[in-house]
Amino acid sequence: MSSRKKPAAAGSVYAPGPAEQKVAAHTIAVLVDNTPGILARVVGLFSGRGYNIESLTVAEVDAKANISRITVVTSGTPMIIEQIKNQLARLVPVHTVHDLTLEGPHVERELMLVKVVGTGEHRVESLRIADIFRARVVDSTTESFVFEVTGSSEKLSAFVKLMEPLGLAEVSRTGVVAISRGPTAIMKRGEAD
């Protein structure tokens, strides 16, 4: 269907609202049953409906209740973001959907492994910068380092940029994980409901 909405064009076809709706990134936490195919369901929903995925991470977080947590960073107008959340909530194995961006302060972190290959001054410089970024050396040879860096996505990108002239060989990133600040949890542990 050629009339399938596209996030960028969506603002213009709706009735005149208060103002042109802005595209913004949202971090969404989705708690799901850890079943075969659940990730395919979530990813298929995004591709099938033309939504963006900027980052997606998934892992089991509660073995007793058999629950996995998917953290997805997506972008869209407020109306598209509402659609994404409703569509996610509609999937049968989904327990809850939380928009951490809207629900208040939260912490976002990402972990990255970076391989830098070089000798001499470049090697020393990379180690110096790694120190500034509080990166840890997790593997070392006489001609290479593997650094482990955690932090916001911006910090990680800045580190990659600095490593580029210093022999950057390989990058592996986890994507964003996030959790709300304060004492409230989005789901009681060990409970399936």
């Binding site: 050629s2 009339s3 213009s12 709706y14 075969p36 195919g37 109306m79 659609q83 049968v92 399936a192």
Partner: protein
């Protein structure tokens, strides 16, 4: 299913205990026997299917019992459409049984159709044995992968002890909330394996519990808006039908209590009596002039179980620009999807209508009578345009005339009508009046040509002794004509009323309006002789070639207690009006052929479907 493994095993151990159902005497059953037992316990009396290598154990179990009937279709797509017809005419879950590989892939169109039109279906598919999955085995397909985007949910059962529970859960998911199709993929070794049975009583889904009761405050705000409305419109959709006959009754009660005008979508026809003066006809692309203008000019719109589909809204920016919109839907993702609404109410239509009526009565609310009578005056003015009129002829059968006569001559029998897709479908929606819900089965969302005949088979299975008519086009009917053989085998006296203009009429109409009359591939050169075709299948064939033939042919068709194919040779050039060209607004309707020259379709509209 991994998520139920724990519970499934626990349940297996406890299966000897009475579970609210008849205990099976401690006997372990095969997976195939569990399937049949679960269907029987779910109250299933009819299954539409087609056997094959990967479902032979289930067919064997089917052979040994009498509680579940099997209807052998001639193509798996037909099985799903038949189950849809069965489900939509009864409100029950339709059940399909097909084999692996091609059996499952052939079912995909039907499943997508059921998803788009929210029809509760449980489709059991055979699968190669678990040790062969992923091996490109004979007749293997990744059924759960293929059907993931076209089902509400699907399952692959790898453990026979999860079988009963998963099947009961599949029925629960299919019929709860916004109904939809659910696929259960059953590897052949699991059908042979022995396990314990578990009754449906204990099966409660872990996460899936749709909200049916509305937020009380939202209901009050809705009544506030309705009370103050000066130019109100009630806009009902297929959700009212899905909610059950009580929802239709409550919708009519709300119309009566408020005196507001109402319109229905294609999917909603029958939710309100078509003969009532307060019904403005169908809304949307081929809806009536008065319904579309009333939508456009309204100040308060109450959408009940309708989803603001692009066939209804026309150009979104110009859709009912002045109205405050209230949207009742059981599916939160339908609210604010296409059109931003002022008030979204999540809940079952029937329940929400009940709460609104309770509040309306408690407040002793009354509409703004002065404004309302002014509004009705305006609506009558639009109605006077008589938008469905056509130029009658005594030489050539007009398609509208053919359907009008069919309606007049059969309405006393309260027939069930199914359709294929195209011009005939729109004419049927315009000219056939429905007084009751569940009597109109058409492929609305997906627009599946070939839907009507198998759907009619399903409707007739569920409603023996009732008059079931498929209003068809000659192009659509050829897409699933093989199901005539099913109708004959089960002595189902379905009637095929083919509006035959030798064109893919709706394609031709769009080519005429949008592509300079270049009729690319829309004419069928070599049509079969439908009368002889009917006879070859063992049906009765009839033909109408001039207007005076129409009445006698319809009377004969209704009289014969066998499947009948009627070939109605109609005007080949007739177009379906009124029409909102794509990309246009409700108030830019074309009323007839004379209208089209003045308003060329915009380039923006051209790219829309």
């Amino acid at each position: 299913m991994a998520q139920h493994k724990g519970k499934g095993r626990a349940a297996a151990a406890a299966a000897a205990k009475p579970d609210g159902q008849k205990p099976n005497g401690g006997r372990r059953m095969t997976g195939a026997e569990i399937v049949i037992r679960a269907l029987a316990d779910q109250g299933v009396d009819t299954v539409f299917g087609y056997p094959g290598g990967a479902v032979l154990p289930i067919y064997d179990a089917l052979f040994k019992q009498n509680s579940v009937r099997h209807v052998l279709v001639r193509h798996e797509q037909g099985a799903v459409h038949a189950a849809e017809g069965y489900a939509r005419s009864t409100g029950k879950v339709g059940v399909v049984l097909v084999t692996s590989g091609p059996g499952a892939t052939n079912a995909v169109t039907g499943l997508t159709d059921a998803l788009m039109d929210s029809v509760p279906i449980v489709c059991l598919t055979g699968q190669v044995p678990t040790h062969l999955i992923g091996n490109d085995a004979f007749q293997e397909a990744d059924t759960t992968g293929i059907t993931r985007p076209c089902t509400k949910h699907n399952y692959l059962i790898k453990d026979v002890n999860a079988m009963a529970r998963t099947l009961h859960e599949a029925f629960y998911v299919a019929r709860s909330g916004r109904p939809g199709p659910v696929v259960v993929d059953l590897p052949k070794d699991v059908q042979f394996a022995e396990g314990a049975y578990e009754g449906p009583a204990d099966v409660r889904h872990k996460t899936y519990r749709p909200q049916t009761e509305p937020d009380a405050e939202a209901v009050e705000r809705a009544v506030d808006l309705l009370e103050k409305a000066e130019r109100p419109i009630l806009y009902g959709g297929g959700g009212i039908i899905n909610s059950g006959p009580e929802a239709s009754r409550l919708f009519a009660e709300l119309v009566a209590a408020t005196g507001f005008p109402c319109t229905l979508t294609l999917m909603g026809l029958g939710a309100f009596p078509a003969s009532d003066k307060r019904f403005l006809g169908m809304v949307g692309m081929h809806g009536t002039y008065e319904a579309n203008w009333a939508m456009h000019d309204s100040d308060v719109m109450l959408a009940v179980g309708a989803r603001f589909d692009d066939r209804v809204t026309g150009r979104l920016a110009a859709f009912s620009p002045k109205s405050k919109k209230i949207h009742i839907d059981i599916d939160p993702s339908s609210i604010n999807k296409n059109v931003p609404v002022h008030l979204g109410i999540v809940g079952d239509c029937g329940t929400v209508l009940k709460r609104i009526l309770e509040s309306w009565k408690r407040r002793r609310a009354a509409p703004d009578h002065k404004a309302l009578s002014q509004w009705w005056k305006q609506i009558e003015h639009w109605r006077k345009r008589d938008c469905l009129r056509y130029i009658a002829s005594d030489k050539i059968i007009k398609p509208q005339y053919a359907i009008q006569r069919l309606f007049q001559l059969t309405k006393d029998r309260e027939p069930f009508i199914t359709t294929e897709v195209g011009q005939h479908q729109m004419w049927a929606a315009q000219f056939f009046g429905f007084e009751k819900p569940n009597h109109w089965m058409t492929s609305g969302g997906l627009g599946t040509m070939g839907y009507g005949l198998p759907a009619a088979v399903g409707v007739q299975m569920a409603n023996p002794g009732k008059l079931v008519i498929d209003i068809a086009g000659e192009a659509s009917i050829l897409m699933n004509i093989q199901e005539l053989s099913t109708a004959v085998q089960y002595r189902l006296p379905v009637k095929l009323y083919i509006i035959n203009n030798q064109w893919m009429g709706m394609v031709r109409q769009w080519q005429e309006l949008l592509h300079g009359g270049r009729y690319s591939e829309s004419y069928t050169e070599a049509l079969p002789d439908f009368v002889k075709l009917a006879e070859a299948f063992g049906c009765v064939g009839l033909r109408a070639e001039k207007p005076s033939d129409v009445d006698p042919v319809i009377k004969e068709m209704v009289k014969v207690d066998r499947p009948v194919v009627v070939d109605v040779r109609v005007d080949k050039t007739e177009n379906c009006f009124p029409m909102i060209p794509s990309g246009a607004a409700h108030n830019e309707m074309l009323l007839g052929p004379a209208d089209k020259a003045e308003k060329p379709v915009s380039e923006e509209g051209m790219v829309l479907v």
